[in-house]
């Protein structure tokens, strides 16, 4: 019985992990009252290669709504993006996109 229970738990974990990996991840930038707006725009252009207009729009969304989803995609790439944004000290979090 014990062996069977352990096997089942292992299988469930694997399935859950696979599902989580398959879902896209969101890179979210949050507002802070210190970081200069033009600096946020510049970093978004640099990290994602966005044009000035798109980067400015996302920056304004951060400023006005308190946060903005600046990128969505595979987990590994999302983590790389988040690390780059944090390297410039933009307040950045990651969320699994359940939508």
């Amino acid at each position: 019985m014990l062996v069977r229970a352990a096997t089942k738990e292992k299988t469930d974990t694997k399935t859950s992990s696979q599902t989580s990996l398959a879902k896209p991840w969101k890179v979210i930038v949050h507002d802070d009252p210190v970081t200069l707006m033009n600096y946020v725009t510049k970093v978004l252009m640099q990290v994602f290669g966005y044009g000035k207009e798109k980067a400015h729009r996302l920056m304004m969304e951060v400023h006005q709504s308190g946060r903005s989803v600046v990128w969505t995609g595979a987990r590994e790439q999302a983590e790389i993006h988040a690390q780059k944004l944090q390297s410039h000290h933009l307040l950045t979090t990651l969320e699994v996109d359940d939508a």
Binding site: Y39, Q83, Q86, H88
Partner: protein
């Protein structure tokens, strides 16, 4: 303080002792072991505890190394501060190749000052300056000084027409 472009970067002149003191604080703030600073510079990133643990294990050490190397680069540039002939104030050169590191370092220092002085968005508003404590006022002045330098490096200020600016007094 004034700023200008030269062939290979930016020059900041007439840096008063208080401005120099603020600039020399930049690498120290980046390297601070204060929990509030660390928590802002290396924030919680994932909701799920397992994901967060993985993030802490894989991504945070690399960020820490980057911050330390940036602090060293800023410290090296600050070691090149030169006294100006007449005023005795200082002159700082920031080469173009160091601008990206300086921009991030200045941002880190401003964020660190913000959390260490327990500032808030409300206190940051210019009209509330007088209501801030002395410690907060000093932090605000330093934050604004560093923002001026960031703005120059971002190319937000027209250096041709700009004369001396940043009339900051930090006692």
């Amino acid at each position: 303080m004034w700023a200008a472009r030269f062939d290979e970067g930016f020059v900041f002149g007439d840096l008063t002792p208080a401005s120099v003191d603020t600039l020399k604080g930049v690498p120290m703030l980046i390297e601070s072991s204060d929990a509030r600073v660390r928590s802002r510079l290396l924030p919680e990133t994932c909701d799920d505890p397992d994901d967060e643990e993985q993030w802490r294990r894989h991504s945070v050490p690399e960020l820490e190394r980057l911050f330390l190397s940036r602090a060293q680069l800023v410290r090296r540039d600050l070691a090149g501060l030169r006294p100006m002939a007449k005023s005795g104030n200082q002159l700082l050169l920031i080469p173009d190749g160091h601008v990206a590191a300086w921009l991030a370092a200045l941002n880190a220092a401003r964020l660190a000052l913000y959390v260490l002085a327990e500032l808030s968005a409300e206190v940051m508003e210019p009209e509330n300056f007088d209501q801030a404590s002395q410690k907060q006022q000093e932090a605000l002045l330093r934050i604004h000084l560093l923002a001026e330098i960031q703005s120059v490096l971002l190319g937000d200020l027209d250096l041709e027409s700009a004369g001396p600016f940043g009339d900051f007094v930090i006692e």
